[in-house]
Each structure stands twice: as structure tokens, then as C-alpha cells.
Symmetry: C2
Subunit: 325 residues, 2 copies
């Protein structure tokens, strides 16, 4: 696929399963992608215990960790040698690179603003690409990095999401929907109503109107815009409902002794709604592509994040800071 040597920085902290889960993911990446070298940031002694091919692995030693309970800005001054900060600092200095972290979203944003700002007017955001009922994908933006947003931030999300779907998914004029509590233009909270007006006026956005929660993943739009609070609900609620239904199906199969027919269906659904991978966020608007894996990430999620980074690398103009409109 992508022939040029590519580097990926991996932050080993942030997974609920410990750095070991992320280091196992690093192993999967090295085994599968010949053209990738890794820079692994974390506890040097631990990393050295792994039987990596160290001709392809560089280690950056880190000290201290930050958790979801820490205030990201305070943490930045208290724990400047934490892996997340060291990883971003390194990313800002190296060309042809991507970054994977399962760290605190807020800290990721603080780092992106400090080290990876593309355009000083535009704050980066976090997107997720989710499978929709049209057998294609919807870019949900923001998924939780920017919680309290003004209308102009939502417009930025629309632009960043459109660029992403145009470059990565080759959609000429991505359809943009605005998440609201009703399809009518009069529906929405204050920020959404204001954003609606701005989106209608913006000639660089193919705005198709409000989208309700039940149509979020229907495939009506290619980009679904919302603040990070609402986006987080869509992302996690979709996952929760998929898990609930699949759990219900497994119970039903056991109760009715129909595992033979129904368990392959369960396997199929788990592949289609694979939230371990889908949950990963993609930072848009930063100089370097960053994949934010979830706290629950295991090795496979880390491997999948690398796969997406390689796809992005093939379309690296997305992150080159040029205006694409």
C-alpha cells in the first residue's frame, strides 16, 4: 500500500489494561506493517523487556502519569515528563509521522494546541468514523474533546469533517448534517440554532439540515456535526445499544438452544459494530494525525489505529496545513 517509511509514536499510558496492552499492540503493528517504525514513549525498563526488533523501535523514557481525574492544564505543569506530553513534543519535531495515544482527551487537546496547531484560528477537534446504514461511513465530529462549544466552533467542525471525508473517503461534496432534537430549523439548543444559520450561509459546506439522534448513523449525511458533549452521547450510546442487543441475542440463543444458527449471527454483528476499533478518535485540524484510542483499548485497537494512520499518510495533504477549499 504505502511504500515510504512511516513513523508512529505510541504513548504507552492511558489504557485501563495497562501499558502491556499497548505494547502488545505495538508488536502487532511491527509484525503486520513492514513500512512502519515506532517511537515508543513510556517506562524504558518495561519497553526493553519486550522482544521488539529494536532496529525499528526507538524509546523515549517518560516519568509520571496523568489520569482522567487530573486537570489537563495543571497536569502539563506538574508532570511535564509524562508520556503524553513527551509523545506530542516528539511528534512536533519529526516529519512523516503519526501519533497514537489512549490518554486523557483533555490532555490530548492541550498537547495538540501547544505542539501541533495547524492554523492558529482553528482549535483541533476529535472525530470518529462510524459505519452507517448506507454501507458507507459517517464522520461524527466532535466526539468529546470540545465540550462547551460556540456556534463558530461547530462550523469549524463542519469544515474539518468535510475536508477529512473529501480527502480520505474521496467524497467530492460531503453532506453535512447538524445533530439536533428535531429535523426542523427551529429545533435545537441556542448554539445549534445559531450554527444552523451560519451553516446555511456557508457556501463551502454542503449543509443538508438538522439530523435527529435516530438518524445519526442512517447514512443521510457524511459528516455529523455536534458539540463534544452530544457527540460523546451518540458515540457511546450507539455502542451501548449495540452491546445491549447483542447480549440479549446471546441470552435468547442459549435459552432456546439455537446457538448453532444464532452465534454466527452474533459474530457477524460484532464485526460490523466493532466498537473496540470504532471508538478510536481521529484528531482533525492538527499538524500531525493523532489517533485517540479509548481507555478500554486492547492490542487490536492499537493495531487498528495504526492502520488508519497509514491510510491518512497516503493522503497526507490533509494534514499539510494548506487550505483545501
Amino acid at each position: 500500500m504505502f511504500m515510504e517509511k512511516y513513523k508512529i509514536i505510541i504513548d504507552t499510558f492511558g489504557s485501563d489494561k495497562g501499558p502491556e496492552a499497548i505494547l502488545e499492540g505495538a508488536k502487532l503493528i511491527l509484525n503486520e506493517f513492514d513500512n512502519v517504525d515506532l517511537i515508543i514513549v513510556g517506562d524504558k525498563d518495561l519497553i526493553n523487556k519486550y522482544d521488539f526488533d529494536f532496529s525499528r523501535v526507538e524509546i523515549i523514557d517518560s516519568k509520571g502519569t496523568i489520569t482522567n481525574y487530573d486537570n489537563p492544564i495543571e497536569a502539563f505543569y506538574k508532570e511535564p515528563d509524562a508520556s503524553i506530553f513527551k509523545a506530542f513534543e516528539a511528534a512536533s519535531k519529526i516529519k512523516n509521522i503519526g501519533l497514537i495515544s489512549a490518554g486523557n482527551s483533555g490532555a490530548l487537546m492541550v498537547c495538540a494546541i501547544k505542539y501541533l496547531l495547524n492554523d492558529k484560528r482553528i482549535r483541533p477537534c476529535m472525530a470518529a468514523v462510524l459505519p452507517n446504514m448506507n454501507k458507507s461511513f459517517t464522520c461524527l465530529v466532535d466526539t468529546g474533546a470540545s465540550i462547551d462549544c460556540g456556534p463558530n466552533q461547530l462550523i469549524n467542525f463542519a469544515h474539518l469533517g468535510s475536508d477529512f471525508m473529501r480527502y480520505l473517503y474521496k467524497i467530492d461534496s460531503p453532506k453535512v448534517g447538524l445533530l439536533s432534537n428535531g429535523a426542523e430549523p427551529t429545533k435545537g439548543n441556542k448554539v445549534v440554532k445559531e450554527a444552523y444559520k451560519l451553516l446555511v450561509e456557508d457556501k463551502n459546506i454542503n449543509f443538508i439540515g438538522n439530523i435527529e439522534g435516530n438518524k445519526a448513523l442512517s447514512g443521510l449525511c457524511d459528516v455529523l456535526v455536534c458539540d463534544g458533549f452530544a457527540g460523546n452521547q451518540v458515540l457511546k450510546n450507539s455502542e451501548g445499544m449495540a452491546v445491549n442487543l447483542i447480549t440479549e441475542i446471546v441470552k435468547y440463543a442459549k435459552k432456546n438452544k439455537q446457538e448453532e444458527v444464532i452465534m454466527p449471527l452474533v459474530q457477524y454483528l460484532m464485526q460490523t459494530y466493532d466498537f473496540e476499533s470504532l471508538g478510536a478518535g481521529i484528531m482533525l485540524g492538527s499538524k500531525v494525525p493523532v489517533m485517540k484510542c479509548r481507555g478500554s483499548s486492547g492490542p487490536k485497537a492499537i493495531r487498528n489505529a495504526a492502520h488508519i494512520l497509514l491510510n491518512i499518510a497516503m493522503n497526507k495533504s490533509l494534514y499539510d496545513g494548506e487550505d483545501k477549499r
Copy 2:
């Protein structure tokens, strides 16, 4: 079940399927519930065409309609004879009564504030009772009636939802969760963070902390508190995902020629996640119980709303305006 004669006012406007769908629902109610008389508000000529037992049906004629595109307060002055307004006015004057409407949520709130205010300090809200993974129910409040909320409104929702679960579901000390973008107290938008502090301090609420979107219907809490914008996303997104998965299962069954085993599973899932009924909202904090059916409501949804009203009627102290704490 409930022996005393009970009256239900039915607003015939608001369903996307026309007043006919609601009138068919009225027929189901009369057939099934002997102890219910109806007051049907709408086009007198149309209602008279139905072969109702008119000894049990009173008609209130109405003129004009309001739609989801209308501003509810303006509509109230422009179309004072619209069915929704006439229905609420009538409900305010009759004892032992409930009301069913599929009308505009905003107009329902305007009407409730004008005619059915229980306590002048507390604005009513709209709840939905959804099945959770604990094989019990979660009261989601608000589901879309109050879109831009302050922290104190969220506290009111917590009280109204707790009262509802205590009286209707006989839960002594209902567990209250706050919908947020993370489990930690530091997560949330400004309003949610502020509400978190107030909920911790409120001794009349059994607050268990923040709940993330994927745990919304896990059964961790009996009452899930959020503003109407976020609640609308949870409600509709849960429905959307259930529909998406069920659609996917049906396709899989056809493709693999396994309809015989899999279609009964589909039936079971559709009963468990019956959003035509589940989508109905219950107004809390009003003098009279009001069921808000969705725009997509058919006859069955109207019948189910009456069933819930009868359950509430058996616990009418919930709506008697006394302080239950």
C-alpha cells in the same frame, strides 16, 4: 385493575399518520378498558363518523392546527382553538383525568405551564421510561421538552424523576445518575459540572454520580438526568441503533436463508425494544398526567399511552401536588 371511572382526553392532532390513526387508537382504548370514558378533541364531523359508543365519548370541537414548525407561544395566540390548547384547558377543569397528545412538545409545555402547573417554582418536564439491562426500567428525564437548562432545572428533573419511580415503580430510594461524557466528577459541560455539585449536596436525592452514554440503559440508575437536548439524543439514538441492528439481522437471515430460526428472534427483539410505545413521554410536575406520543404514533401507541395513564391513576398521589419528601 383500577375500578373508579377514569376520563382520558385525547388530542386528535399531531400524528404524522393523521387524526385517523389517533381515532383508531381511541377505539382500542374503549374496547379494552371498560372503566375509561374519553373526551376527544378535534374535528367534530370526522369524530362523529366513527362508530364509538357515544355514551362513553364526549367531543370537543377544535379549529386550526399547529405544527412542529410553529413557535408554540405565538401559536397559542394565533390559534387559540387548536385541539392541543382546548385539550389542556379542558383537562384543567376535570377531576380524575389524564391527557394524551402527539402534538408539538414545545406547545405541550406552554399548555402545561398555563393550565396544569402544580408548583409555581417547578417547570414540568418530559420523561420516558425505558427498559434496561437489569430487566427493570430507567426513567430518562428530560427527553426534549426543556432544551437549554440551567443546573437547578437538572436538580428538579432529579426530584420529579425520583418521585415518579418511587410512586409508580415502588422503588424506595431511586438511584439517580447524571448523564455526562465521563464517569469522573470532573467530566461534563459547565451545566453538568455545576449540577453534579448540587446533586452531591442534595440529601433528598440518592445520587450515584455521572453515567456515560454507553451505560445509559445498563440499569446502573433508576433515574437518568440530563437536559432535553442530550435526553433526546439518548432516546432517539437508542431507537436508531435498535432499528439499525434489527434491519441488519433481517438482511442476514434472508441472505443466509435462516428466516425460520432468526425471524422469531427478530420478533422477540422488536417486542423488547418496542419504540413505538417506549417513545411516549410522560409529563412530570404537572397537575394532570399527560402522555406525549410521538409524531410517528399509530393506534397501538395511543392505546399504550392510555394503559400508562391508568397505572398512574392508581397512584394518583403522584399528581396531587403534595410534597412527597
